[in-house]
């Protein structure tokens, strides 16, 4: 399966520049294009130097939360009685996100190299790539690359002829969005139900198998080789202050040229949609954009004229999140959208905590009823209120992820809910069940 879109000339291809090369996943291709250069460099550096370089790059986590990566790396204790581990989050299940898949499919060695750099930085000797179960074919690609790396002295003992050693494995998930949440992922990695853990302790202190663990997203690790090659500061300069470098942004929905494009942080969102994405399809008007996966509150067309970096999007009331940018044209039914989003979170709620488990279920039922034409005016307020009652009260951020988009949609497109309610002949009556 050939899986990458035509690159756009407006892209800045730092971590995707090997996409499209002949046999891009092979070690030969990788070595021919700067492959494992950063590793060789890092083997000459101290762990602190590596971490400082990452800090200087202003790289922030690409998994969703956007936590400064260098800082996270520095949290892993230097000295530890237990072995330290690396875990790569390749669960990629935030709706709208399909970039980690490309990074593994087209350039698995870049990920391996990124992991090795992390291992040098924190002193880990073993790691796992947790790949969502649906990406079965990627596991084969990754395993092949790992095997090649072992054969050529990039994994195993005496890496590049040095004392450095590292073992890397793939590990399959089995269908659970919640297992993308880092602590639930670790539970799942240990062979358990994917229920999040109480934090603190954070994975850096007690992660996989209760040992200090460095856990990052695929794209985060994949960005580090370039950082070491070009230098942290130069990488940071590609982006904007506090949001260094480039990001893989997954464009989907009502655009002419959907695809995954690498752009510098701070790239204007409308330019991204109109110039890289070729504008709204079928000659229609833009209605709204979900900027960072379905957990991020949508922005109305008027709100979209902003640069794509963590802080600017946050200022606009949303999140850059996982980089899943979903574009909606004027015909989009926002009530149905809200229902579809809630159906997802209800399906994926792990069930551990009350507000999320019951809140998503209740909201789904109500949104379904409104969509079916049986809604009442007070339901609209109730939907907003219930979502608000979940916000900030759940055990892990999945509850927030369900609440935030709902609150935004109800607030910004209340008129559409009202239109649905108006279809209900009994909308005004006070029907109360006694169950």
């Amino acid at each position: 399966m050939k899986l990458f879109n035509e690159p756009s000339p407006l892209e800045t291809r730092i971590i995707s520049f090997r996409f499209g090369l002949e046999n891009s996943a092979s070690l030969d291709t990788y070595l021919a294009h700067d492959g494992y250069k950063a590793l060789r460099k890092a083997l000459e550096m101290t762990p602190d130097d590596v971490i400082n370089e990452v800090k200087a790059s202003n790289l922030r986590g690409r998994g969703g939360a956007g936590f400064p990566t260098g800082l996270k790396w520095s949290f892993v204790p230097r000295a530890s009685e237990k072995p330290k581990y690396i875990v790569v989050n390749a669960d990629e299940s935030e709706p709208g996100t399909c970039k980690d898949r490309l990074l593994i499919q087209n350039d698995p060695h870049q990920l391996i190299e990124g992991v090795l750099l992390g291992a040098i930085a924190v002193g880990a000797k073993k790691g796992w790539i947790y790949i969502r179960g649906e990406y079965n074919y990627l596991i084969a690609i990754m395993d092949k690359a790992i095997e090649e790396a072992y054969k050529n002295g990039f994994l195993g003992k005496n890496i590049c002829g040095t004392e450095f050693e590292f073992d890397l494995y793939t590990h399959t998930g089995a269908g659970a969005y919640e297992c993308g949440e880092e602590s639930a992922l670790l539970e799942s990695l240990e062979g358990k139900r994917g229920v999040p853990r109480i934090r603190p302790p954070f994975p850096a202190i007690s992660g996989a198998f209760q040992a200090p663990t460095l856990l990052n997203n695929v794209e985060t690790f994949a960005s580090v080789p370039a950082i070491l090659r070009m230098g942290g500061a130069a990488y940071a300069d590609l982006g904007v202050p506090k949001s260094g470098g480039t990001r893989m942004v997954c464009m989907s929905g009502h655009v002419n040229k959907p695809g995954v494009y690498e752009v510098p942080l701070g790239f204007p969102m409308m330019k991204f949609v109109n110039e890289i994405g070729g504008g709204i399809w079928k000659g229609r008007q833009l209605k709204a954009i979900i900027p960072g996966g379905s957990s991020s509150p949508l922005l109305t067309a008027e709100e979209c004229d902003i640069p794509m970096d963590y802080d600017s999007i946050a200022k606009a009331g949303s999140m850059l999140g996982s980089g899943g940018l979903m574009v909606m044209d004027e015909t989009t039914d926002m009530v149905k959208l809200a229902l579809r989003i809630m159906r997802f979170y209800q399906h994926e709620s792990c069930g551990w905590c009350i507000p999320c488990r019951e809140g998503t279920t209740w909201l789904k039922k109500m949104l379904q009823r409104v969509t079916d034409g049986h809604g009442q005016t007070r339901d609209i307020d109730l939907i907003g209120d219930l979502a608000q009652n979940m916000l900030g009260r759940t055990f892990c951020p999945l509850g927030d992820a369900a609440a935030m988009p709902t609150i935004a949609i109800v607030k910004k497109y209340r008129n559409e809910f009202e239109a649905y309610v108006a279809k209900n002949p009994f909308a005004a009556s006070e029907l109360v069940s006694i169950s």
């Binding site: 074919y137 062979g191 989907s252």
Partner: protein, 157 residues
């Protein structure tokens, strides 16, 4: 219970991937691979993996019930999964799913009488930029139109 020699070899290797004493970690991959070979997660398989990893059947059951890709009942030889999540929905995923329902005469998680095909409406599977997408077993099909869906379904023999 025994599996094919290849799978047994894979299992044998798999348990070495995890720290000593933490072999339970192999459970979910084992269930996935076992299901791929047997067709579903059977009671026998749960007992067997439990025994191998030092878990009670109930502990295995707890895990199986959690993950949406693990099925205790066999799905069809060809398990057709249609994504209707936001990105796919925006590009006709829901209509595609309806089409599949009618075409196959099956609903969510239903299996054809001959056991050949089953259908499932699934959540986002990471094909958003190539929506709408379906997966038949592990094979992705991207930007699927209803006509293409017909062709794909007809080709499942």
């Amino acid at each position: 219970m025994t599996f094919s020699p290849e799978l047994e070899a894979k299992f044998a290797d798999l348990v070495t991937h995890y720290p000593e004493g933490r072999q339970r970690a192999a459970l979910i991959p084992m269930l996935m691979f076992g299901q791929d070979e047997i067709g579903s997660v059977t009671q026998e398989m749960m007992d067997e993996f439990g025994k191998r990893l030092g878990l009670s059947t109930m502990q295995v059951d707890e895990v199986v019930g959690y993950y949406s890709m693990l099925h205790k009942k066999p799905m069809g030889k060809f398990h057709v999964q249609v994504c209707t999540n936001v990105a796919c929905m925006l590009r006709g995923g829901a209509e595609l799913y309806d089409h599949a329902c009618h075409k196959l005469g099956l609903g969510h998680k239903q299996v054809s009488a001959d056991g050949r095909i089953s259908l499932e409406e699934v959540e986002c599977m990471g094909a958003c930029s190539w929506a709408p997408a379906i997966q038949v077993n592990y094979d992705f099909h991207h930007e699927v139109s209803t006509d293409q869906l017909d062709t794909i379904l007809e080709g499942l023999q």
